[in-house]
Amino acid sequence: MKKTIPLLITFVVGLALILAIFIPPEPFHTMNREFSVYFDIIAVFAFILGGGNLIRVHGNKISRKKKDYKYSFVTLLGFFVTLFVGLLKIGGPPGIQGEVMASGSWFLFIFNAILTPLTATMFALLAFYVASASFRAFRAKTTEATILLLAGFIILLGRTFFGYYITSWLPDSLSFLEIPNLANWIMAWPNTAGQRAIVIGISLGVAATSLRIILGIERSYLGSGE
């Protein structure tokens, strides 16, 4: 019984969603629209779940004084201050429909003065680590690695004006060998072929797994049952 009801709900909802998508006439059209709205409403509750989980994980870390627990204070402080400022719309228009990010609101200040520089800094640091990692790991050890290395060089050069100037002297008949054109070719053909193969493979896998879940063959999402 503990598993039968969830399996039944999964089967009925899964089947209804498939019918709603693939059969355009009524009542399936309305079903599709209503199900989509339900999905969006449920998605909103994921934020509550996420926030609760954040408090639980970091609260646990602080109470047990685990390694680097002081950073958890900063995380929770940031979370609660932002939540408080956003919910009360401090500095902005009041009311439930007032814009959270209105000009002069504290939430907008947090967004512009704290979130923007912090995330930009974190992302910018990647460039330094990419350079260091490339120096140590990007080696032409095998034929495949050498091809990858050459393709990488062509793309790196092709995305800059260096690539254009290095090969701009080539005659028109050999313009396909110009580095930007080679870079475009790599992106448009080998890359597209590889990406399409991956996407088709993933899609078939998703369809197969979904069917297994709807038909009750795949039950791991229900837990171990202990």
């Binding site: 989509s36 969006d40 260096f162």
Partner: protein
């Protein structure tokens, strides 16, 4: 200590220093080079040029401040292009931070450069809603199921621009600015394809290779990374020379990117020289 040994144990801070300088020096002493637009970027420009006046373009801002250096120049150029062509623009976001990004672009571009444009008539910001691809699916069937107000709380029914917008199919063009998921892929799968709506993408350089399979049959065109943004700026300046001075952010940032690429390549070459010399020594 021999040179090879020194290079083998090269302190990563030296690499960091070179990368920092390669970015900093071209920023302090700006140099620009002409851009040569690729067909995939030109397709977006032509797509927007082909729209009749007063058409409504949907511009979802699906990115956050971390990718703003790549995507903000795209958004800026696109907004300028749309406003100059007298198109109407509706923005929204699948990312929570996207609403702020759209607000910034509207205040920097529309409010300052096009003061005659009226909010609600020529442009509107619907803001953020949760749901990702589920939201797109809902919007394809009914806009008002999810968006009853704009970001400022004004009822959608009171916004003139939204008068004839009932589903995503009522938009003439979707120009998505995307830094990941949910983003362009979801817009193509849940709106562009089933709704037969022309869709183009401004993607980060990291995401761009993943979007190529959709071009050209399912996606009109794509700007990939800073290079794509610079190419679009070049097209805009060529078509509308009044933007020659203002529309050069991405073009100006191409030099730091180019030098950083060069430094990375030099270090990869040095790394490979060390590798081959070591291998030869071992073989002996």
């Amino acid at each position: 200590m021999p040179l090879l040994e020194r290079l083998q144990t090269l302190d990563r801070r030296i690499i960091f220093l070179f990368i920092g300088l390669s970015v900093l020096v071209p920023l302090l002493f700006p140099i620009t080079f002409p851009e040569h637009p690729s067909p995939i970027v030109t397709a977006i420009y032509d797509g927007i040029e082909s729209l009749p006046e007063r058409s409504i373009v949907l511009m979802p801002f699906d990115y956050d401040p971390s990718t703003a250096p790549e995507l903000d120049p795209m958004a800026t150029s696109l907004m300028r292009h749309c406003m100059t062509r007298n198109l109407r623009v509706c923005t929204m976001a699948l990312w929570p931070e996207g609403q702020g990004m759209a607000n910034n672009i509207m205040s920097i571009v529309v409010e300052r450069e096009f003061p005659d444009k009226v909010y609600g008539e020529d442009y509107v910001n619907l803001g953020y809603k949760a749901g990702a691809q589920g939201l797109i699916n809902t919007l394809l069937l009914s806009m008002r199921s999810m968006y009853t107000t704009d970001a400022a709380g004004t009822p959608v029914d009171e916004i003139p621009l939204m008068k004839n917008i009932h589903t995503l199919r009522d938009f003439a063009f979707i120009m998505n600015l995307s830094a990941g998921r949910p983003g362009t892929k979801e817009w193509i799968q849940f709106a562009g394809d089933p709704g037969d709506i022309p869709i183009a993408s401004g993607s980060t350089a990291v995401q761009a290779p993943l979007m190529y399979p959709y071009y050209p049959s399912q996606m009109v065109g794509m700007m990939g990374g800073l290079k794509g943004a610079a190419e679009y700026e070049a097209l805009l300046v060529k078509g509308y020379p009044q933007f020659k001075n203002s529309s050069a952010v991405a073009t100006g940032l191409m030099a730091p990117q180019a030098f950083a690429h060069l430094v990375i390549m030099v270090f990869i070459i040095i790394g490979n020289i060390i590798f081959f010399v070591e291998r030869r020594q071992k073989d002996r």
